[in-house]
Structures are given as structure tokens and as C-alpha cells.
């Protein structure tokens, strides 16, 4: 009871203050709400604009490449190489080894191709591959797996960034 009275007393004593205080609180709450609404709106807009065009991972630097090509004609080839993507020239340099032929031999391979990529495809030379990207670090794909049917051959390529 004593406690209640004390509270009642305080209520009376600070009624005026409480009114001012509550007015201030309401004003601050409204201001905060307005800010929150505008901020969330801006954030939502930013998110929707980000969600619009899908991000395109960059292919840049050196990757360990594994390439398997199987052909209906019976020919096949396998390439393991260092693939270096140069973003300034749009060129891909391959330096490694190719196993092919009958009998199978392992030979050195050096090749330069033009390249480009989108969120879903990678184009190497004239061949368009459907791609799935792995982890992207600083906008650069650290891993990707791609496949293409270029009759009479099917080609699968895996790339892992150095």
C-alpha cells in the first residue's frame, strides 16, 4: 500500500511532467516510425533493384581446369590445365595437358580462346556452356561447373580458382 501511495503521489506530482514526457515520447516515436518506414522503404527498393538483374560472377585469374569431352563418333578427349582468365582482354589462356587419340597419348596443350559469361552461361570460343557457379568471393567465382552439347560431342568442364 505504501508503495502504491508513493507511486500515486509521484503520479500527481509529476503529472505535468509526465504529460510533457509522454508528448515527447509520442513525438519521438512518430519520428522514429517515420524514419523506420522511409528507411525500410529505401531498403526494400534497394533490395528489389538488387534482385532485378542477377549478379554475374567474374571469371578472373588462374583456375585448375578439368575438361571431359565425349563424342558419339567414338572420339574423346580429356584436358587438365591451368586456365587463366584475363578480364581486360576477354581472353582465356589454357596451358596444360590433353589425353586423346587411339592409342591414347598425353600431350601438352596451349590454347587461347575468347570468353564471356552471364549468370547462367559461359561462352568459350563459339561454344555456349550452361554454368553453375560455386562460392563467389569479392565478385569472383571460386568454383564453377559447366556443360555443353556441341554435336557430336558433350563437354563438361570444372574450374577451381587458385
Amino acid at each position: 500500500m505504501n508503495v502504491s501511495r508513493t507511486v500515486d503521489g509521484e503520479d500527481v506530482m509529476h503529472h505535468r511532467f509526465r504529460l510533457r514526457n509522454s508528448t515527447l515520447r509520442i513525438t519521438m516515436a512518430l519520428a522514429f516510425a517515420a524514419f523506420a518506414v522511409s528507411f525500410s522503404g529505401a531498403s526494400a527498393m534497394a533490395q528489389s533493384s538488387r534482385a532485378g538483374p542477377p549478379a554475374v560472377p567474374m571469371l578472373k585469374g588462374g583456375y585448375a581446369l578439368t575438361d571431359v569431352q565425349m563424342c558419339n563418333s567414338g572420339n574423346s578427349s580429356q584436358i587438365t590445365a591451368l586456365a587463366t582468365f584475363d578480364t581486360t582482354t576477354g581472353k582465356l589462356k589454357l596451358k596444360g595437358y590433353i589425353a586423346t587419340g587411339n592409342p591414347v597419348t598425353l600431350d601438352t596443350l596451349t590454347q587461347t580462346l575468347s570468353y564471356s559469361n552471364s549468370a547462367t552461361t559461359v561462352t568459350l570460343g563459339d561454344t555456349v556452356y550452361q554454368v553453375t557457379y560455386g562460392k563467389v568471393a569479392n565478385g569472383i567465382a571460386t568454383y564453377l561447373s559447366m556443360i555443353a552439347a556441341a554435336n557430336p560431342c558433350a563437354a563438361q568442364i570444372w574450374l577451381s580458382r587458385q
Binding site: S76, V104, L106, T142, W158, S160
Partner: protein, 144 residues
């Protein structure tokens, strides 16, 4: 006076020892940097193409666990091969070693390319070579 001199001598000697140790360790360190270490368990995908010779094409998936202290690799794999195609399970242990550009399994040396290194350990690598009676074996591995 003696203490100061002694301390200075000690400092000089200590600095010299550290410098010598660093200089001595540098080439070894550089050498270690050049050769990625294979350590731990890697998930692998492989294709063994014997179409030109035996007409067989094998796809392999599994794990390879490398122990650099023993130089041994433990293999666990599934293999599709044959006509009609069958799925078989396999396991084994092999001796391995590697250089900056090659990977050797038992007595067969493959050409290797490494992905990113983490504390000197290859987080991924690929190798290729000709094995047996004219089969091309190509393997791609990723550290777990």
C-alpha cells in the same frame, strides 16, 4: 659495464642467430611454398577413358584421404563401368607423393594443377595421365 657489454653481445648474438635461422629456413620455406601439401580428405570425381583400347569408360566418385606423415592415401570409391553398366564399390591404400607440377600414385606419375592453397594445403587439385593399356585417367579433387 660488463653487463651492458654482455647484454649487447647477447643481443647481437641473438639477432645473428635469428637472422641466420631465418636465412637458413628461407629456402626450405620457399620450397615448401612451391609444393602444395596434400593433407586430409578430398572428394573426387574421375573419368577413366579406355574407349580406344578396351572400349570401357569408367566414372568414379569417392574420397581420397592423404596422410602426409606416412605418405599413404586411403581410397573409397564408387565406379560405374562395363556393358551393361554396373555400380561397384571399391577401396584401397596407395603410396603417394607430389611436386609443384606432378602427382605420383604408386609408380604412376600424373601431371597436376593445384587450386587455392590454405596454409600450404591444396584445397583442390586436378591431375591427368595415361595408365594401364592406353587408358586416360583424369581426376578432380576438392578438400572437405
Amino acid at each position: 659495464m660488463f653487463d651492458r657489454t654482455h647484454k649487447r653481445f647477447t643481443y647481437v648474438t641473438l639477432a645473428g642467430t635469428i637472422a641466420f635461422a631465418i636465412a637458413g629456413a628461407a629456402p626450405v620455406h620457399a620450397e615448401n611454398q612451391d609444393v602444395p601439401q596434400l593433407s586430409g580428405t578430398y572428394v573426387f570425381n574421375a573419368t577413366q577413358n579406355c574407349l580406344p583400347s578396351t572400349g570401357d569408360l569408367e566414372s568414379l566418385t569417392g574420397t581420397m584421404t592423404f596422410d602426409p606423415s606416412t605418405g599413404k592415401m586411403k581410397l573409397f570409391e564408387y565406379i560405374t563401368s562395363g556393358n551393361p553398366l554396373t555400380l561397384q564399390k571399391g577401396k584401397g591404400t596407395d603410396i603417394f607423393s607430389n611436386s609443384a607440377s606432378t602427382f605420383t600414385l604408386d609408380s604412376t606419375t600424373f601431371q597436376a594443377f593445384y587450386g587455392k592453397l590454405a596454409k600450404g594445403v591444396a584445397t583442390s587439385f586436378s591431375f591427368i595421365g595415361v595408365v594401364g593399356d592406353g587408358c586416360a585417367l583424369q581426376v578432380s579433387l576438392t578438400l572437405q
